[in-house]
């Protein structure tokens, strides 16, 4: 695993690049660990409170540990009318957790999100940012089983 200091340093030349650093950290850890947040604040010359304020403003960023696979369900109107509610219930049932929770083995986290710009194939979920198209409740077990 890359050291969080190296990850942050690789972004330091970018003016205002703290969000880029957060993205890079999340790519490695799936969330922004506390120590890394403090270090990023120092490198980009903002207070810890400000860095925390930025990290918590954006729904894509998380300061809490999450599962290896982050499942996000699009809830925006086109996905809503295409049956997003039924899909999210199927995901919750299959993993036996609720939205916002992580499975006990640390493998899956379920989150809701708004339109991810793949509305040609509603309803859509993403698994670690990769979109999965035309999801139905029936397809949910197969899709999740494919996550090793």
């Amino acid at each position: 695993m890359a050291n969080y200091k190296d990850i942050i340093n690789s972004c330091r030349e970018k003016r205002g690049g703290i969000i880029e650093a957060f993205h890079a950290l999340q790519a490695e850890y799936n969330y922004i660990p506390q120590d890394a947040l403090v270090e990023a604040a120092r490198v980009f010359g903002v207070s810890e409170a400000q860095a925390y304020g930025v990290a918590t403003f954006y729904s894509y960023l998380s300061v809490e540990n999450r599962g290896k696979y982050i499942i996000r369900m699009c809830e925006s109107a086109p996905c809503h009318v295409a049956g997003a509610d039924a899909v999210i219930r199927a995901i919750e049932n299959y993993l036996d957790i609720k939205v916002g929770e992580t499975t006990a083995d640390g493998k899956f986290t379920i989150e809701l999100c708004e339109c991810i710009g793949q509305c040609q194939a509603t309803p859509v979920i993403t698994i670690n940012s990769q979109p999965v198209f035309n999801v139905t409740p029936e397809k949910v077990p197969e899709i999740l089983d494919a996550c090793k």
């Binding site: 970018k14 003016r15 205002g16 690049g17 703290i18 969000i19 880029e20 957060f22 993205h23 980009f44 903002v46 304020g53 930025v54 403003f57 954006y58 729904s59 894509y60 960023l61 809830e75 925006s76 109107a77 086109p78 809503h80 009318v81 999100c113 708004e114 339109c115 991810i116 710009g117 793949q118 509305c119 040609q120 194939a121 509603t122 993403t126 940012s129």
Partner: protein, 405 residues
């Protein structure tokens, strides 16, 4: 009879969007060459004359926007808005996936007009694959020499709809929370790191190469006179062909839905269409013979917005859909100003009550009153537009509300 008119997407799937060489083979970078041979004022005048208006929602004349940039400022920025957060919209992604070099060329043309050496593309966090594509496209364009000394950097957003608002977007590039700024000063005068900054949508930039290569008159002659050119629309909801189309701006909504879109899905009847994304008005059948251009949409109380076209069939429960939309706005409100922070919360609360069958006609009056307050008092377009789906459905589909009361 409505037909597609492919200008931005003419070579879709025939060229590699990352490759500057591919693009040059089909006539790319001729517009930039032309722009560089022109005097700055003549270049801006040419863009003004083409009648090109912003494709990001506000419909502002692009050349006019550029003309506000003070000439004497030492540093200026060109910023491309690829935040594309409006639900039901994915046309900017399509432009990048099919013709990314045209976007880069358009940004460089703008850079020439305002004498800027640095561009930024702010790409939404939901499109990491587009970020990669654009980085490769920029590398290819730089290597080919096409961009000259104009540099472009890609920055990634992180899942905040409000960052599509141009000043919130600037805040986000600066590494801050994406909260809109008070205007004035407008970005053209004081934008990114307090330097004059032009913010345009992807589609706006992508129109420019052809405008320069073929001339302002050519562009002004396409589509609707006051909002010329083509527009990429994305069809969602209960529609047979749930896909994207590039159409001249004088096509009617009816043609978009029933000719290109193949009509309502599964042979059902039409109930309503929401144009312009989730912040747009819902439009009933009797208004479908309206052209999709900015002003025509405005004349029926709607907005072309991003060009999203969301169709609902006769069986859909409009109050339920609008309740869902009210949750979107509550979630996406940045909380900086009170009319929106509190207003979106109350709108959602009342809509849920009505949707659950516990509402009264007094609730409907309150929704309309709150709607007026928010449209007048909210700081940015998010809070101003949030009540529009509610207001327009109470106007056109009042019976759906009354049925639940």
């Amino acid at each position: 009879m409505a037909e597609e008119l492919r200008v931005l997407l003419q070579y879709a799937d025939q060229i590699n969007p990352e490759s500057a060489d591919d693009y040059v083979k089909v006539g790319g970078y001729k517009g930039l060459e032309k722009a560089r041979s022109m005097d700055r004022k003549a270049l801006i005048d040419e863009v003004k004359k083409s009648g090109l208006r912003g494709r990001g929602g506000a419909g502002f004349n692009a050349g006019m926007k550029w003309s506000f940039v003070p000439q004497d400022a030492p540093i200026k920025y060109v910023v491309c808005n690829l935040d594309e957060g409006e639900p039901g919209t994915y046309k900017d992604r399509i432009i990048c996936e099919k013709n990314a070099q045209a976007l880069l060329e358009g940004m460089a043309i703008c850079g020439t007009a305002i004498s800027s050496k640095q561009g930024y593309i702010y790409c939404r966090g939901e499109y990491p694959f587009v970020v990669e594509l654009l980085k490769n496209a920029i590398k290819s364009a730089k290597a080919s020499g096409a961009l000259g000394d104009f540099d472009i950097e890609v920055r990634m957003g992180a899942g905040a709809y409000v960052c599509g608002e141009e000043t919130a977007l600037i805040e986000s590039i600066e590494g801050h929370r994406g909260e809109p700024r008070f205007k004035p000063p407008f970005p053209g005068v004081e934008g990114l790191w307090a330097a004059p900054t032009v913010v345009n949508n992807v589609e706006t930039f992508a129109c420019l190469p052809n405008i320069l290569a073929n001339g302002a008159e050519w562009f002004a002659g396409i589509g609707a006179t006051r909002y010329p050119g083509t527009k990429i629309v994305t069809l969602t909801g209960d529609i047979e062909n749930a896909t994207y189309f590039e159409v001249p701006t004088n096509v009617t909504l009816r043609d978009v839905i029933f000719t290109l879109g193949g009509g309502v899905k599964n042979g059902k009847k039409f109930k309503a269409v929401q144009v312009g994304g989730t912040s747009g008005a819902f439009i009933p059948e009797q208004n479908l013979d309206t052209q999709i251009d900015f002003d025509s949409m405005g004349s029926i109380g709607a907005a072309l917005g991003s060009g999203a076209v969301f169709v609902l069939d006769e069986t859909r429960d409009i109050v339920d859909v609008v309740t869902r939309i009210s949750k979107f706005f509550e979630h996406e409100s940045c909380g900086k100003c009170n009319p929106c922070r509190e207003g979106t919360f109350r709108l959602r609360e009342i809509m849920e009550k009505v949707n659950a069958g516990r509402g009264t006609t007094q609730d409907m009056d309150n929704l309309l009153l709150l709607s007026k307050v928010m449209q007048k008092a909210a700081l940015c377009g998010l809070g101003q537009a949030a009540p529009i789906p509610i207001e327009s459905t109470i106007k056109h589909f009042r019976y759906e509300y009354l049925r639940k009361i």
